[in-house]
Each structure stands twice: as C-alpha cells, then as structure tokens.
C-alpha cells in the first residue's frame, strides 16, 4: 500500500496562498471571515474548519543588502501548514462515530456523511487542526484530497503550488527529497533550515513534513506533540479505582447503616 505524504518547503514558498485557495476551490470550503489581522500578510491566522491549508508569514528584521534567501536569519518566511495526518492521530482515536478513518494512502479522512458533530476530535488534535464549523455542525479538516488520490491525482494544493514548495509523493521519497534540499541549502550557506518531522514522539510520525528556517516554534509547530491516547491508561486506571471505590463506599456505607439499624 502506498503511503503518501507532503513535504512543504518554506524556503521556496512565495506566500502566494494559491494552496489555500485551490484547496477551498476543490473542496468547496466556504470563506473563513473577512478580518484584517495586521499580522504581516496573514489574515486567515490558522488552520480550522474552513481553512485546510494555511500560509504563515513569519517576519523578522529586514536588512538592506540581504534578500530573504541570504544566509543568516531569514527576513520573511512563508510556510504553508496543513493537517499532519498523524501516524497516531488524536482525532482518529477520539472519533466515536467512526467518521474519521485511515485511508489506504495513510491519510486521516473525516467522512462528512457520518460525522455527527460531537466535537471530541477538536480537543484531541495536538496540532490544533480539526474544528467544528459552527453553521454546519460537522467537523472539517484537510481530506488529503482522498477523492483525488483515489484516482491517482495529486492533491489540489500540491498541484497548484507555483514553486514546488508543496511536494506530494511517497513518504520515503520525500524524506530523501528533504535531505537533498537541506544539503542544497547548506551548500549555499543557508544552514539554519531544519526538517520538522514529528516522528519521535507519541504521534509516531506524520504525513506532512516541513522544511523551515530557524526555530519551528516560530511557525507554531510544537516541539513535542503528544497524541492524547498516551494519557488513556492513566485516565482509565484512575477511573477504575474511583469507580471501584464508589461502589465499595456505597456498599460499606449502607452495610454500616444496616448494622446501626
């Protein structure tokens, strides 16, 4: 079974937001509000129920003589964010209806005809991706263009990207492509580029890798995301002990009372 993934490389991203628009056009996603934020050129702010691709604009000090691609600190970086399609996906675990499924391509897919809008996936995603659309009541996020992938097509966002900042392909190939790009950058003196690849923590890897310059935290990429299921054992243990105690307490209380009678 092929496992596909995205590599999104912010060092070649021109911040055009074509990916945002193409995603919305293909998936018929509604607009997400007309709010001017004043945060650089980013007026959609974050991924959400109606923004499945989101381009971040990270601004640092501009220095005359240096373009944004010069070695040293980047001046203005753009990075297109997307659902990580986690190997251990919080949303997938959480969904009580089976609305969220793992596809044959390794993606995490929300079935719009099943979701009943319980909202549990929303608090289960360590990347803050999935959200419930207020007027619709269902939860939405990137589908990984499951429909397109089924027909062997590239997801709309990757297809449209003018600079190949978004590369779509086989997971293993993309890791190789990532190191090829990082080597190329290093050869040009751009040594602060890193691959964000959350495969070490409990999330167990993602189907979305990112090359960013500087600290991934500046792009709201969490350093150590945890899938919530890591807490399940402790939580149920506590629940079991509590439940047993409650029953025990009740039995004891009434037993003691019977004696007193």
């Amino acid at each position: 079974m092929p496992t596909t993934a995205f590599l999104t490389d912010s060092t070649v991203c021109i911040g055009c937001k074509a990916c945002e628009v193409a995603c919305k056009a293909w998936n018929e996603v509604p607009q997400d509000g007309y709010v001017w934020t004043g945060l650089s050129y980013d007026n959609t702010k974050a991924l959400g129920h109606s923004t499945w691709r989101h381009v971040k604009f990270v601004e640092h000090e501009a220095v005359p003589g240096r373009g944004g691609h010069a070695a040293g600190q980047p001046t203005w970086s753009f990075s297109s964010d997307v659902c990580k399609h986690c190997e251990h996906a919080g949303c997938l675990d959480a969904c009580p209806t089976g609305s969220i499924v793992r596809t044959e391509f390794g993606g995490v897919f929300v079935q719009p005809d099943i979701c009943n809008g319980c909202g549990y996936c929303v608090v289960a995603c360590p990347f803050g991706v999935i959200d419930r659309r207020p007027d619709d009541g269902r939860a939405f996020k990137c589908t990984f263009c499951y429909d397109r992938q089924k027909a062997g097509l590239t997801p709309a966002c990757a297809q449209v990207c003018p600079t190949e900042s978004i590369v779509f392909g086989d997971m293993a190939d993309l890791r190789r492509e990532a190191s090829r790009r990082l080597d190329g950058l290093a050869a040009r003196g751009v040594t602060d580029a890193v691959l964000y690849d959350a495969h070490e923590g409990s999330v167990g890897g993602t189907h979305a890798l990112f090359i960013v310059r500087g600290d991934p935290v500046a792009y709201n990429l969490p350093p150590k995301p945890d899938v919530p299921s890591v807490y399940l054992r402790r939580a149920w243990r506590s629940a079991f002990v509590t439940a047993a105690s409650l029953i025990g307490a009740a039995l004891i209380a009434f037993a003691a009372q019977s004696h007193a009678h």
Binding site: S99, N116, V123, A253, A256
Partner: protein, 310 residues
C-alpha cells in the same frame, strides 16, 4: 482672496486635525519576534466547541451514575424506598443525559452514529456505549425493579461517574491532560456528592447518604488541594482568570464547604441541606469551570510550544 489651492489646503488641514482627534486605539501590540511567542502568540490548539449542555451532562450523567450505585447498594440492604427513588433518578438522569448530549451535537439527527462502532481508544465511544447500556439498564431497573438490572445499572453507572474525567483528561488540552490522573476521581467524587445531596434533598434522611456525602466532600477537598498544589504552567487556567475562579469556587463549594458543614454543622438538618446544596452547586460549577479552563488552556500556545515564558 483664498485661491482654490488655499481652500483645498485648509480642508486638508482640517482633515488632518480631525484625523488626529479620531486616532483609534491600537488594534494590538507590535508583532514580537516569533520564536519567543510562537506564531504571533496565536493559539496552537483549538478550543473545545461544546455548549453548556456538555458540562451540564457531565453533572447530570455523573449524578445519575452515582444514583444507580446508591440505588443498588440501598436495595442490597433493603432500603427499598431509597432504592426506588435512586433508580428513578438514575433512569431520569440517563434520559436527560442523552438529551443533553444530543442537543450538543452539530448534527443531532445523527446521534445514533455514536453506535456505529465501538472504540476503546475513544473515551467518547466508550462513554456512548456506557450511556446506552446505563440508560437501558437504569430504565429497565426503574420499570421492572429487576435486581440484575440494578447491578447492571450500578456497574455502568460507575463508568458514568468517572469516564467524563477520562474524556477530557485524555486530550491535547494541557490543563486537562496535566490533571489526567485526578480528573476521573475528581468527577467521580463530585458525582457522588451531588447524587447523595439530591437524594437527601428529596427527603431521604438515611445516614448512609450523609456518610457517603461526607466521604465525597472529603475526596473533593483532597482533589481541590491537589489542583492547588500543581505548579506547572499547564494548570494556570485552573487557577487564574475566569476559569480559575470557577474551578476554585466550584472546588470550595463541593469540597471544604460541605465537608465543614457536615462535620461541624450544629443544626444537623439545616447544615446537611446547606451542605447538599453547596455540593450540587459546587459540582455544577466545577464542570463548567473545567470546560472553561480547557478553552483558556487551548488559547495559550506557551505550554504546547514549550515557550520560554511558559
């Protein structure tokens, strides 16, 4: 005589003066270097989307579950009137719970989808099945007074009292997951406290209820204290801001307050009534407080991003 140019300049000057007066307050501070704030300090996580029905459900479902336990225990000791009422309370609670949960769904018509699959890895799935089983057994028990159904209701009721703690504990919300060990116990104790109090307020003056309530209040006091003792940044919403206030007030009302009233109250009936009321209100406020704290926690990127100021 002023020329056209003069006139225009006068107009423009007045515009500029007026503009200065109209100067609006800042929309927000200047963007700070991102790696210290994450991405412009914007939240990383999403807030829980639940309406008031969900904390209400936590309360009702918990109380109903505890009522079923009390009912079964009471029946075992032949307290039939109490058992009867507790049983009906459980059944009624289950019904209201289902209604509340359905109400909160984005697509209420699809509430049956909860039973499409069974997923032990999802507390919501376990909870849905538990609620269904509980609802069935509690209703059955209420209608038939069958002992087996009583036991079944108590067993599933026990899940009802605690799983909601699992439900929010095992999430990506730092304030909740930080308290993951505590939450089931906290919610369980709170459920017991409110169930006993409700039965008491219904007129049952069984000492067992009083003892159980006392134990619940004591447990709640311990729970409250352990929250207070936590130092990590993740629990800040439990102590600070509006959510912190709710959690603290809820904790006080469901723990120390009823405990003190029950142990120290001199006019026993009044004190127990007050303790019961306090526990109920406290339990309710607690659930709202925790859910609210979840929102506040989701808003703060410092914890999940491990920012220096966290």
């Amino acid at each position: 005589m002023p020329t056209d140019t003069d006139r225009r300049e006068i107009t423009l000057t007045s515009i500029r003066d007026e503009a200065r007066e109209l100067a609006a307050p800042p929309a927000q501070g200047p963007p700070v270097p991102p790696s210290e704030t994450g991405y412009y300090g914007l939240p990383l996580l999403k807030r829980p989307v639940w309406s008031a029905s969900v904390p209400l459900y936590f309360f009702v479902g918990g109380a109903a579950g505890a009522a079923a336990i009390i009912g079964a225990a009471a029946r075992a000791r032949g307290r039939n009137r109490l058992a009867h009422d507790a049983r009906w309370m459980a059944a009624g609670g289950a019904l209201i719970s289902a209604a509340l949960l359905t109400e909160d769904l984005g697509r209420p018509s699809r509430f049956l989808n909860m039973l499409r699959v069974f997923k032990p890895q999802s507390a919501m799935s376990v909870g849905s099945w538990a609620l269904s089983a509980f609802g069935a057994s509690a209703t059955g028990a209420a209608l038939t007074s069958s002992a087996a159904l009583d036991v079944a209701a108590a067993a599933t009721g026990a899940v009802m009292t605690t799983y909601t703690g699992v439900l929010i504990g095992a999430t990506a919300i730092p304030a909740w997951s930080e308290a993951v060990d505590l939450l089931p116990a906290h919610f369980g104790a709170s459920a017991l406290g409110s169930a006993t109090a409700l039965l008491e307020l219904l007129g049952h003056r069984d000492a067992a209820l009083h003892h159980l309530a006392t134990v619940a209040a004591a447990a709640e006091t311990v729970a409250g204290a352990s929250v207070e003792m936590k130092r990590s940044a993740a629990v800040r919403p439990l102590k600070e801001g509006p959510s912190g206030l709710l959690v603290r007030v809820g904790g006080l009302l469901s723990g120390p307050m009823p405990l003190a009233l029950r142990l120290l109250g001199r006019r026993r009936r009044m004190a127990r009534r007050a303790a019961g009321l306090s526990a109920i209100i406290g339990s309710l406020v607690t659930r709202f407080g925790w859910v609210r704290a979840g929102s506040a926690s989701a808003d703060d990127p410092a914890v999940p991003l491990k920012l220096p100021r966290a």
